[in-house]
Subunit: 238 residues, 6 copies
């Protein structure tokens, strides 16, 4: 029934490539099928002005798409001088979710900037970005621990993200573009490996969705997140 | 237990004042306790370029806060030349939710712009804005129907919005600023009068929230929305 | 002769409501007939960098219009990322005039920001804004004096503002939109309660105006200002 | 008494050089003492969109200062990406005043853009700019008439501008920077050669000014304008 | 002598991977050693307004760097709302050079947009970008020819780009970052496969360079370009 | 053969007027025929943040054109809020070239800002700007030396700039607009008085240019630069 022939509870092929570029403290290419995002983690000593002196760290997110990562070329935001609302929204989401994964006291006064740049889009770029950014973040933190700058792992719990939706009346996991562009409902779920919710964002594209549909989507998301968290750990221990 | 002395399932006092200003086709002052938002609906013949010729209408939302609507004065976005990410996000949310309430074919080639400007903030400005904007939208549409420009009511179902959250470990309805600023979790729920979900957005501010907490919050939201939809109908029939 | 039926030397009904919103140190809703402006005064310890260490205070003004405060919706300046020239001009005027009312040495190193936001426009928004801003400023200053932070009232003289113009060949006081949009000449006059000029700005919209017309307009303005200053004092002593 | 040794009613030396640069339809270097402004008039067929089809012309003004036209270098507005409020205000003033000099019906559907760029500032740049821009405008219009594109002279009356002020308690004409920077009151007056007011803008820099002071300043301005209009005609007939 | 151990006339390892992403009409990953740039070519029917109706095509270039493509993270230009001068300069260079390779009449009214995004920087990003962009352009043009939309190959001559410089007193080819950051002179050369100059840009970083040094650098560039043009043809025929 | 009747190796008439405006520490009007540029040098104590404490100076360049310095009026960059790519490029070029002329250690912690504003353009504005800016820079430095703030002349070598090109198949010196707009190749050369290259930038406008053409152009440039350096010294010793 799905354009890709997948089962309703089947993720796309997920690949997580660490050390994708050489300069960043964490650098990951994450692929959810044909969706490909470069996630880098950059570590800086110090924190933004409004947080100084509290002994806490900070994590921030930024998101972008290469102009031709999509079917039709998008205007380059840097050339236009303005990010779209969608870009701003996703940047904020990435930062908020990854901050939720970190014990800022344990991190200490370091800022970790997560840059998620989509080089090829096929639906689910924000969930792939968050899932990959977690691995880049862990890599950067491992570096800080190896250097003795951070004593104890400040990660409270791994997190991952996946989209679920109602496609032709049925709840499905990890929508690709062919599904996403016609889905009745789209729900992005970000959870900890321990099964707690970090963020949920669901939108009825056409008709309102029912409590039963919400329940069905959340069940799919829970299993998908568990699978993604496993992939993350496999990559990190490779 | 709540700073305001309210029950966990108790809304703040809700007031909806129609015809608050004289120029707009719909103009509403909505108050959720001390949160006060002016919502206006402006009707224009025609639709944005990308929709022309399809015989469908369009609804758009914009949100703003007066600089001193809050405890500390905020920088005026117009003077700075840039809206904050939060403003962009809420503007997009308002437009998306209200569009979900309208049958665009039945509206025909009219654009309705909803401006929600907060004159006093005490938590829940976005949910008050959406709840008030629906009334302004209905007023504007009634005007179009009275003028014979729209034949049949294009509203598919009334919608309203409310926030729920986990405050000191308990699910509570319609958080005010005193609660919102320390809540562990904040969930905005937008539903139709018929009980369908239009949008849900939930964020764990500190710790991830559990499925049981989500269920408790959604139950509160459902009853709160029903009450708000009643208030809307009372205002519209006054 | 006037569309409103007023006498040539008759102000519109003027209402000044103090404590209109709850957060600001001074908050006034000023109404000149159907023109309605929210004026808030926000107090901050300290002054802009270029004034530090001189022991003097600072007063600044900003002006805005809600997008649908007017007959046709205006583009939201914050969304466009640019204030119009008119907005910039009026913001500067408000700051300049209110600064003229204050003995900055007596105020000491405090900054008072005056925000004037038009919620409904019917001509004369800048003069209503200045007249209301004075009351908000006085309220904020009274608070500083009550808190013992300012010793002696730094107001040199109350000020108020009114427009005068040549409408169908006759000098008239306090033009509303119906008059303003067709007036041959428009003159904004800002004066102290003691009868001194703080600022005058007059523009010939069609034909140049004569010295005699100027004299007639200034006479009307003088009486109008006196009346407005009385209204301010009534409001402040209520 | 005046720093320059001038009489209170004495203009600085005024020089008006036509054809200062070669590309513009009108190009004037105007000098009020050490204040030097290049004023060009550029003619375009057609008018802005909002005026099309009415058979009327349009005149617009823009103002700028070279970064080191002043004692301290100012930030280049083009590099900063933003004009100051003062620049916007003066640009609008120039456009408004010169429009008042033209019968737009007689001009027909042409747009004349007046650019006033200060190359050396010593007080009174805006009044020099307006006085010079009139000559550039007349030159451009003469070109249109010679080419047979405009039938009859659309200038209703020549206009000129001068500043007056209260300096050390006395009304003086045409303030230079040494006076302007300490004047108690500064009044810019724009009048027709026939003695009508086009615009007046007066600001009390320190203390409010009295009706008597206003009268004294206006009298000086009237004579100064008459002299400037003569200079313009001499330049145009040279 | 060179940090990399290369000969003075030795290019870094050059890799050109076609079809690197799936949406663009031409998509190339070009690598000059550790410098990695994604070059995409996007085809649109039509040309910019100022060229319409001439029957000619248009080619444009844009350049960007991922924030952490470099040793220290750079501010994201889209977030800042402004491209750096360097980015603007390189974007213009890319467009100008690639336009020089195309017979616009033979292309017909198509616009080809070349986006060059650096994912890893190690010196010579602009020359890698131009070299890769040519391959993406050829791929896009081949697509147009296969579709019968363009009759004859509009490429006048292949072009490629390389940097040369004076490093520790000696002319060297294809500088990497370790050389570039200390080189006395840096010269970017863009040539046709036939040996003509398309563009040369040379800058003395410390001391002026001599005609003899220029001659030596140009000789290295010529051979380097020939080698790069071969690599391009190998990639295109793979 | 040249539109102006000049020999291929003949400069336009070059005039360098010092002390053109009164406020700047160096102020030069430079004219290459009908191309006229005001170059000012502004001296500030201190250097940009990234250079502090190194005991070195800094030189920066900015370029602009008056809107009607050209045949068709250009949009005012300050009004548009954005400099064109060409403006940014030339500003960077001016700064880079003049920095190459200065021993920053000998200058000490002063910043010299060079503003080059074109008041009339007829081709070669950037080369005229650099040639004039050098004189303004020398004047400003002479002032610092006279004031005892700089001990020894920090100018390493005078520099000047000229354009050369291929016009109708022949190499020519110092192209005016009539030549520049149709030239096959345009090469800007910046050299020291001692004959070293500071910067070369050459672009094939239509067809690639040959090594022989490059040699011919460089020979013309060398002699032109020598002549310009003489003119600079004559002006400085006048």
């Amino acid at each position: 029934m799905r354009p890709s022939g997948r089962q309703v509870n089947e993720l796309r092929e997920v690949r997580i490539t660490r050390n994708f570029t050489k300069h960043a403290e964490g650098s990951v290419l994450v692929e959810f099928g044909d969706t490909k995002v470069i996630c880098t983690a950059s570590v800086d000593k110090g924190v933004p002005r409004f947080m100084r002196g509290e002994g806490k760290g900070w994590v921030n997110g930024e998101y972008g798409m290469l102009p031709r990562s999509t079917g039709n070329r998008m205007i380059r935001e840097a050339a236009k001088g303005k990010q779209t609302g969608r870009t701003v929204e996703i940047s904020r989401l990435i930062g908020r979710c990854l901050r939720a994964a970190v014990d800022m006291k344990a991190l200490g006064e370091y800022t970790i900037q997560l840059d998620c740049d989509v080089i090829q889009a096929d639906g689910g770029t924000r969930t792939a970005a968050i899932t990959g950014a977690f691995v880049a973040l862990q890599d950067a933190i491992n570096g800080l621990m190896e250097a003795g700058k951070v004593k104890k792992n400040p990660i409270k719990s791994p997190i991952a993200a996946v989209s679920v939706g109602i496609y032709k009346g049925t709840a499905v996991l990890d929508l690709d573009y062919a599904e996403d562009s016609v889905a009745e409902t789209d729900l992005n779920v970000i959870m900890t490996a321990a099964g707690g919710f970090v963020e949920i964002q669901g939108t009825a594209e056409q008709e309102a969705f029912s409590p039963e549909e919400l329940t069905a989507m959340l069940a799919l998301a829970k299993d998908g997140i568990a699978e993604l968290c496993e992939k993350q750990q496999q990559a990190l221990s490779a």
